[in-house]
């Protein structure tokens, strides 16, 4: 029996397998390509890019935690113009399918970044979808994260949607650090997002007990890794359940959070994810995006399940 691992992200976007990289955990492709062919990954999700070059924060930017880590990178990156000039052509040259993650400090900046991306000569050939990272601070709203507020989330999407052709679906990336994630999901989808990516990191702090001061230069950091997998499964579950109940518009969900093995990917899928990203696990095993896809295929084969897509949200039926 051959297993069909095709993942369906809607709007005609089909991926040869459902395992993607997570934004910010694989840079923009060149580094992982030194280990294996990134064109074989379901889709390569790039580091969130803003309008201008960003230095990111001071260091320490990272703290190890039980089965995870905190990071406080500060979206270091080249800015959209350098991205379009250097990174996108490179991704195209190796035949990668890219999902480009965009960010901004204002909703207007998100729209500006989207416009520059869509205008890029390599856009049609390389960009399968756009991830809108609304889990970042809104400077105009005292630094409150967009995805913590339904109105700010909707405003970003409203400004980005007209910039992007309908055939390139927009996935809004949500934070689990909210009272009711289905409210944010509804706001983003009603404003024109064609899918959701869940979850971004959870906010944490570590204190250096030797120096008796906060460990991270930026004080707070985002918690990621296997430690947060149950939170990701819960968030996907709640939003998928709300879609099934007709409480919010139905759209594909890309699951992310703590995936390390094929079985982990299956767990997020059964909760309602149509594809799955691997983030922090890459730091432990840089070959994990390829390995997780292989393990998932083997798992389905062993269970006699012919099609991955048939498993999306199946745990809600049992």
């Amino acid at each position: 029996m051959t297993v069909d691992l095709t993942a369906d992200l809607g709007h005609g976007v089909l991926l040869p397998n459902p395992v993607l990289t997570a934004s910010g955990c694989a840079a923009n492709g060149k580094e992982l390509h030194r280990l294996d062919d990134i064109a074989k990954i379901g889709a390569f999700v790039t580091k969130s890019v803003k309008r201008d070059p960003q230095s990111g924060r001071g260091t320490p930017r990272m703290a190890e935690t039980p089965s995870g880590m905190l990071n406080s990178i500060g979206l270091q990156g080249p800015g959209i113009h350098a991205f379009v000039e250097h990174d996108l052509p490179w991704l195209r040259s190796v035949g990668a399918r890219a999902i480009v993650s965009i960010a901004g400090e204002s909703s207007a900046e998100f729209a500006e970044v989207a416009r520059a991306l869509v205008a890029a000569p390599d856009f049609d050939a390389t960009v399968a979808a756009i991830e809108v990272n609304i889990s970042c601070p809104n400077v105009a709203n005292r630094g409150l994260v967009y995805a913590c507020d339904p109105a700010s989330s909707a405003e970003v999407l409203r400004l980005v949607v007209p910039e992007v052709p309908r055939s390139t679906p927009l996935f809004a990336k949500l934070t689990p650090d909210v009272t009711d994630i289905t409210v944010i999901a509804e706001a983003a989808l009603s404003a024109g997002a064609q899918g959701l990516t869940m979850i971004n990191t959870l906010l944490g702090i570590r204190i250096d007990t030797e120096r008796m001061r906060p460990h991270l230069f930026g004080l707070t950091g985002g918690l990621s890794g296997p430690a947060i997998r149950p939170v990701a499964v819960r968030a996907i579950w709640q939003v998928y359940a709300a879609m099934r109940a007709g409480r919010i518009p139905t759209a594909p969900i890309i699951g992310v959070g703590g995936v390390r093995t094929g079985e982990d990917a299956l767990e997020l899928t059964l909760a309602g994810a149509s594809a799955v990203q691997v983030g922090t696990a890459i730091f432990n095993d840089p070959l994990s995006p390829w390995r997780v896809a292989r393990e998932l295929g083997d798992l389905l084969h062993a269970r006699g399940i012919p099609r991955y897509d048939d498993l999306v949200g199946v745990a809600h039926d049992h």
Binding site: T59, P60, N71
Partner: protein
């Protein structure tokens, strides 16, 4: 002088061939023929700790002590600095460990015979013996200085059989009492060295650069920043480094380093276990605020 930024990185499950105490450290030899064949002095390897289901996810990086392409072995020197490195110090012959390598940019080696001084602080001396041999094979005269807080924290004083050696310790338990940089100016003068290579803690690398610069000596330093991945994807091991274009960028020490021209590192931003972003760094919060301010002024007129 070439870099290996685009070369293949190998991910291998390596068998430990030998493990032994070396002063306060653990000297580990493992079998990784692909890495041994390609590695050069100054490069490093990143080890996973605790096995496939470990709750410690981040890689631990170690400067390569030496390789033997003939036998396919790679050697590192490990200090027990926490639960992850402790797991590595407890590995015994016959066990396996996940290793990534070779990683990073090696020390640049001159094409012509050039007198050099090599300095190693603590286990930072690990790559220096291999580097000394490579330089000597090129006809370079090499002086070696090893320093540490105490004799137990010196590594490799017995390995310097073919190199003139000076030893320093902070407490005087071996060699000259003082810092590794204390004998440096005299050595540079007497040997006529125009190149220095150093590996060790940040304050030492800064001090080496400060001694070398006024004398017109190029100092190449290998930094030990904490890294999560070792391969350039996590963006945690950055340092402010001035590029060839004169612009300072937060540069990843795993792929743009770990060896840097000391004169290009913005040492003043590095202190007390922290690295600040210099105001004139590309994309710094200060420079972006100025940019936005200028834009706002422009649009209000």
């Amino acid at each position: 002088m070439t870099t290996t930024a685009g070369d293949r990185v190998h991910s291998v499950r390596a068998e430990v061939i030998a493990a032994a105490a070396a002063g306060d450290y653990r000297h580990l030899v493992f079998l990784a023929p692909e890495i041994a064949a390609a590695a050069r002095p100054g490069q490093f390897v990143a080890l996973a700790v605790g096995g496939d289901t470990s709750g410690l996810l981040l890689r631990r990086s170690f400067s390569i002590h030496r390789v033997d392409p003939g036998t396919g072995t790679v050697e590192i020197v490990v200090a027990d600095a926490g639960p992850g490195t402790r797991w590595i110090t407890r590995l015994v012959a016959g066990e396996a460990v996940e290793v990534l390598g070779p990683l990073g940019v090696p020390f640049p080696v001159p094409d012509e015979p050039t007198p050099c001084v090599l300095l190693g602080g603590g286990y930072g001396s690990a790559p220096m013996f291999w580097l000394a041999k490579v330089l000597q094979d090129k006809g370079c005269h090499v002086d070696l200085v090893l320093g540490a807080a105490t004799q137990d924290r010196l590594f490799g004083a017995d390995l310097a059989d073919r190199v003139p050696l000076t030893v320093t310790t902070d407490d005087g338990s071996a060699g000259i009492t003082g810092r590794v940089t204390d004998p440096l100016s005299d050595l540079l003068r007497t040997s006529g060295a125009t190149l220095a290579y150093a590996c060790g803690p940040m304050p030492m690398l800064r001090a080496v650069t400060q001694v070398c610069r006024p004398l017109g000596v190029s100092a190449y330093v290998a930094v030990e920043e904490s890294m999560a991945c070792g391969i350039g994807v996590c963006m945690t091991c950055v340092l402010p480094v001035v590029g060839a274009d004169g612009v300072t960028r937060m540069s990843r020490s795993c792929v743009e380093g770990p060896t840097f021209d000391g004169a290009r590192v913005r040492w003043e931003a590095i202190a007390d276990g922290r690295v600040a972003v210099p105001g004139d760094c590309l994309g710094s919060p200060a420079s972006l605020a100025a940019l936005n301010h200028a834009a706002a002024q422009g649009s209000s007129r």
